[in-house]
């Protein structure tokens, strides 16, 4: 790698190179969609896990905590075995499409959202739920209020999940196939574009990814500070 590559990288960044934007857009699109799916499933489930007693609850909590560290390639492999034409869901024809990447990343994001929402909400005041009951709230009203009270927890869970999937390469590569314009993301591009000597693009994409990660971490730090403020 040489100095020209870096200069070219900043040239790409400064003139908003079309391919650079397209790859960034794919990354954002996949990470955002998968985070939204994970949030839509994980937030209500997290509330149920935190406040309802039912058989098998502890097992689910333990499993969720374990799956938080699910290696991305394992998630990719799992979803691959379902979505491949030879798999049970092959008839959907989703392999090597954005949908496949989104499903795989949602698999990675769900345990993160679920686990963080669960542990965050259990740290809310135990009196809160009783207060809601005694004030006559219906179960739905209670759930909505709890999520609202735990909004920092919920938002940071979603942001953490977003940060993880936007920077992962395993599922994006295995399920998307790094198809140019279509499923090529920042991470798959960096992993593979370097091989064909496209250093400049890789460097530029690395800068974009770092900016995104920095933004996510800044947001998380900010929210954590807010939450622990007296």
């Amino acid at each position: 790698m040489n100095r020209e590559a870096f200069l070219e990288a900043f040239r790409l960044l400064s003139r908003l190179d079309r391919e650079l934007i397209a790859i960034t857009a794919n990354s954002m699109h996949f990470a955002l969609a998968s985070t939204l799916i994970a949030a839509a499933l994980g937030i209500p489930l997290g509330v149920i896990l935190a406040f309802r007693e039912f058989p098998g609850r502890r097992l689910i909590v333990a499993a969720t905590h374990t799956l938080m560290g699910l290696p991305t390639v394992v998630a990719g492999l799992l979803v691959f075995s379902f979505l491949s034409r030879s798999g049970p869901l092959g008839w959907l024809g989703l392999m090597y499409t954005p949908a496949a990447v989104i499903i795989g990343q949602a698999f990675l994001a769900l345990p993160i959202v679920l686990s963080l929402v669960y542990s965050g909400l259990t740290r809310l005041e135990p009196e809160l739920i009783e207060t809601l009951i005694t004030l006559g709230a219906t179960p739905l009203q209670r759930t909505l209020k709890i999520v609202r009270e735990g909004r920092i927890v919920v938002a940071s869970a979603a942001l953490t999940a977003f940060g993880r999937v936007v920077g992962e390469v395993g599922t994006a590569m295995m399920l998307g196939g790094n198809i140019r314009w279509y499923t090529r993301t920042i991470t798959t591009a960096i992993a593979l574009e370097t091989q064909r000597g496209a250093f400049a693009l890789s460097v530029a994409l690395g800068v974009v990814l770092m900016i995104v990660s920095f933004g996510v971490n800044f947001g998380l730090n900010y929210m954590v500070r807010f939450r622990t403020a007296p």
Binding site: I133, T134, G136
Partner: protein, 324 residues
């Protein structure tokens, strides 16, 4: 007669733990203030939660013929939004028209003295303000029964005063108030009925709580307390506003004839009731122009031949009277 809340043969325990609560019978009447007192961990909070329906008893029955019934926790647990949004929330979820919410919100905030803090961010309130806001959030529902867990603990004196005033007003308007407290002064000032608890059970109160007012002792070294019913008793000299005189039933000496002693209070009375509490103690309810109870042993009852209608003298020291 059954009250608004009636408890019978109640047992409660958390799974795998020894019984926390065992209440044989309790019936609470409308428009009265009942105060649970007792040491930490004696089961006051648990009893309140059972009465509120937040905990299901293991055995026995809890009958509630009142609605709404609201519990205000010791920790006010305000929502992280404005004071006004907090207090109005119970009405908002009931889809009450906005105009009526406005009216009732104003009334509730004014009652607890927080009208000037409606737009404040609730987490930034002081402890006393938080407790008052939590009470306003409950009373905006016009509850038939208001349960409060330690509403006057660890908060500033003006807030305590406000809360006590609010509870009196509510009771006068017909709300049944049940609260727990560590704060004995608060308990004596408020209670129509004291409910002492020991290790999960209600025990009979051994205190006479007499209503009235302390007279200004002036230069005297002994004070006087004017009872509502008319008679005056001697008490320690103390300046200030006192509305309750509390005398432990064990501190009252009963005698067949008039005694000559250092004790300042000698009152002639008639035995109204003789009530065996257990194998050791008997409670004697006297009419001395005002109701006064004493606790004596079975042996004393036999020796004095105490029975309904007997005339006895009750003697107690001025210093046995505590003013609140």
């Amino acid at each position: 007669m059954t009250g608004l809340i009636t408890i019978r043969d109640l047992l409660f325990s958390y799974p795998g733990s020894p019984p926390l609560l065992s209440v044989k019978e309790l019936s609470l009447d409308q428009g009265r203030i009942a105060v649970l007192i007792g040491d930490n961990g004696c089961g006051k909070t648990t009893l309140l939660k059972v009465m509120a329906g937040l905990l299901t008893p293991g055995a026995g029955t809890v009958t509630r013929s009142a609605d709404p019934l609201v519990l205000v926790h010791q920790k006010p647990s305000l929502f992280t939004e404005s004071v006004g949004a907090n207090v109005a929330w119970p009405l908002k979820i009931r889809r009450i028209p906005r105009r009526e919410i406005r009216k009732r919100l104003d009334a509730a905030l004014e009652m607890v003295g927080l009208e000037h803090l409606e737009n404040r961010w609730a987490p930034s309130l002081s402890g006393g303000e938080k407790q008052r806001a939590a009470i306003a959030r409950a009373l905006i529902l016009n509850p038939a029964v208001l349960l409060l867990d330690e509403p006057t603990s660890n908060i500033d004196a003006p807030s305590v005063e406000t809360i006590e005033r609010v509870l009196r007003v509510l009771a006068a308007e017909g709300t049944t108030v049940i609260m727990s407290t560590h704060n004995l002064a608060s308990a004596y000032r408020l209670a129509d009925r004291l409910l002492p608890m020991v290790r999960g059970s209600l025990v009979p109160s051994h205190e006479n709580v007499l209503r009235g007012r302390a007279l200004d002792p002036g230069e005297e070294h002994i004070g006087r307390f004017q009872l509502e019913e008319g008679p005056v008793i001697y008490c320690p000299a103390a300046r200030g506003t006192f509305t309750r005189a509390v005398i432990r039933m064990e501190d009252i000496i009963l005698s067949a004839g008039e005694m000559v002693s250092s004790a300042q209070n000698h009152l002639a009375g008639t035995v109204a009731t003789v009530l065996a509490e257990d194998s050791e103690l008997v409670r004697i309810e006297l009419d001395c122009g005002f109701p006064l109870d004493a606790v004596v042993t079975h042996r004393s009852v036999d020796e004095l031949e105490l029975k309904r209608g007997s005339t006895v003298y009750a003697t107690f020291k001025a210093s046995a009277v505590a003013l609140y």
